[in-house]
């Protein structure tokens, strides 16, 4: 009896939480009207691939981190893990330390440590765990939305010294590997927004030809850009209305802001464009200081490209 209790007590202890570490799944829908965004894993493809590598259902809760990830100590039965993204990490077993490869599953044991050092020239990385993470759900999702304090961990980022428990561990070794390298984008494909004609010809030309720099003031809510001024000739405010992820708003100062997964649901700045869905996973991975350009695309092309991207994701999943 006593042994059973000990055997069932599987958990991770967070030695160092990292910069912006949260639990995420696919997020929560149909709540925009009360002010709650989708949230969920920022880079869907890497989220799904990580779960598949440890034989989880694709929408299983995952540890998402940005820039510097967590250092975790594991206590419990044998367990499979995987890391996806462009991530530098190490696994420590007793006195030996190995450098981990992304897109490869590893079996870890009692006392092992996972140290996620950095996301290399990218932003988000994922740690999937071949077990059920014991989490609270709100609106059928564990995704942490720190602004509204919604989701697991009382809607807060993970902190140093915390523990999280694991249930239904898959102890069988599950050796999986995928040959995959994240492609980067510098040209983001944009569909013209509903207020495109608020901007001067010169402003519109600047928007589609000049470089923009991703500002440090970027997070899960939005990405701020700096670049040539985009002159507004109508009104720098509109009557507040709904937003969706990928919308590019231009406030009075002329610096565009791209709405990301935890965005405010309503906004009052003109919408110059929307990032095509095909580029969203790669958009969120563009790190502060990077230079980007916008390229206009028609709706029908955006739809076709998204279909191809989805097929590619399915193809990658089927190789695992």
């Amino acid at each position: 009896m006593n042994i059973n209790l000990i055997m069932n007590n599987n958990y991770f202890e967070i030695i160092r939480a990292g910069i912006n570490t949260t639990f995420q799944d696919e997020g929560r829908d149909n709540l925009y009207h009360i002010g709650i965004p989708f949230s969920g894993a920022m880079d869907r493809r890497n989220f799904y691939l990580a779960n598949k590598l440890v034989n989880n259902v694709l929408n299983a809760p995952i540890v998402e981190f940005a820039y510097q990830g967590p250092q975790l100590k594991y206590v419990g039965d044998k367990l499979n893990i995987s890391v996806t993204g462009d991530v530098v990490f190490k696994i420590k077993k007793n006195d030996t330390e190995i450098v981990g490869n992304c897109y490869e599953s590893y079996q870890i044991e009692n006392g092992d440590e996972i140290n996620i050092l950095s996301t290399n020239k990218s932003v988000y990385g994922y740690l999937a765990i071949g077990a059920e993470i014991d989490l609270n759900y709100q609106w059928k999702s564990c995704s942490i939305n720190t602004r509204a304090k919604i989701g697991s961990n009382n809607g807060n980022k993970l902190t140093d010294g915390q523990k999280f428990n694991l249930l239904n561990i898959n102890t069988k070794q599950n050796k999986k590997k995928l040959n995959y390298i994240n492609s980067k984008v510098e040209n983001l494909r944009i569909i013209k927004g509903t207020n495109f004609d608020y901007f001067s010809l010169e402003g519109a030309k600047n928007f589609f030809s000049k470089q923009f720099i991703v500002s440090k003031l970027s997070d899960r809510m939005g990405m701020r850009l700096e670049g040539p001024k985009i002159e507004n000739i109508v009104n720098s405010n509109i009557k507040s209305e709904g937003l969706i992820k990928g919308v590019i708003q231009v406030p009075a100062d002329g610096n565009p802001i791209i709405m990301l997964s935890d965005h405010g649901t309503i906004g009052g700045y003109p919408k110059i464009g929307v990032v095509a869905s095909v580029d969203y996973d790669r958009l969120v991975q563009i790190s502060p200081g990077s230079k980007i350009k916008f390229q206009e695309i028609e709706l029908s092309d955006a739809e076709t490209l998204f279909k191809l991207y989805e097929m590619e994701t399915q193809n990658l999943l089927s190789q695992i």
């Binding site: 509204a148 509903t194 209305e241 709904g242 969706i244």
Partner: protein, 225 residues
């Protein structure tokens, strides 16, 4: 009733009901919102009603703009749809610690504090929409002599419970948040309750809201009652 339907990106439909902000247009938006929701149309995963627009988000894996547009154009709108509107009273304390911008408003509006508060409290408001942050209600309309712009420099942190005004609107900050509205007081009431998943918002579009002034003592003892 929809003046124009266009695409917002590749995964949302943008329904424009007009330029003006008034109860009639907003009621049309809300009617469409409920009608679309009740139809449970395949692929639609979010709806955002606002003053005079309705944005319909959909899953591009399951459907596309053309399909959703067609369905919206052929939709039967239930004209007889009766909204279950509530009348809600929100207590607000305007003492110095809470009424952060009353001094500035005296100058901007050329009105004395007493007159500003009298105007604000002697009014029934209509909830046009909720959002930006979870549960934040956008209420209107303030008297013409109360209309003013946002703060020139928005606050990095507006305290939770703050009641603000700008243009013809009033709102309540349901969480600490950045914001540029002129803050005239603070409510001890939890206007958003994430613990109540079925009905987390105290105030919903279509509801009628009045504010009543409370003292600092009443504010402090509010949660002890």
């Amino acid at each position: 009733m929809i003046k124009n339907i266009s695409n917002l990106g590749d995964a949302a439909v943008y329904c424009d009901f007009g330029k003006e902000v008034n109860k009639e247009i907003n009621s049309n938006v809300i009617k469409y919102f409920y009608s679309i929701r009740n139809q449970k149309i395949k692929g639609i995963n979010n709806l955002t009603p606002s003053y005079n627009k309705l944005i319909i988000s959909f899953d591009l894996k399951l459907t596309n703009f053309k399909e959703i547009k067609k369905k919206i154009e052929n939709l039967n709108i239930n004209e007889a749809f009766v909204q279950n509107n509530k009348k809600i009273t929100i207590p607000v304390c305007c003492e110095a610690t809470f009424g952060l911008d009353i001094d500035i408003l005296e100058k901007k509006l050329s009105l004395k504090r007493e007159k500003i508060l009298e105007n604000f409290f002697n009014k029934e408001y209509f909830c046009y929409m909720t959002g930006f942050i979870a549960g934040m209600p956008f209420l209107g309309n303030l008297n013409k002599n109360m209309h003013t712009k946002r703060l020139e420099t928005p606050r990095v942190r507006v305290p939770k419970g703050s009641v603000g005004i700008t243009e013809q609107f009033a709102n309540i900050y349901t969480f600490e948040s950045p914001g540029g509205w002129n803050i005239i007081g603070n409510t001890p009431v939890e206007v958003f309750d994430s613990g109540n998943e079925k009905d987390p918002n105290m105030i919903s579009p279509g509801d009628e809201v009045t504010f009543n002034e409370i003292s600092l003592d009443e504010y402090k003892s509010y949660h002890e009652q």
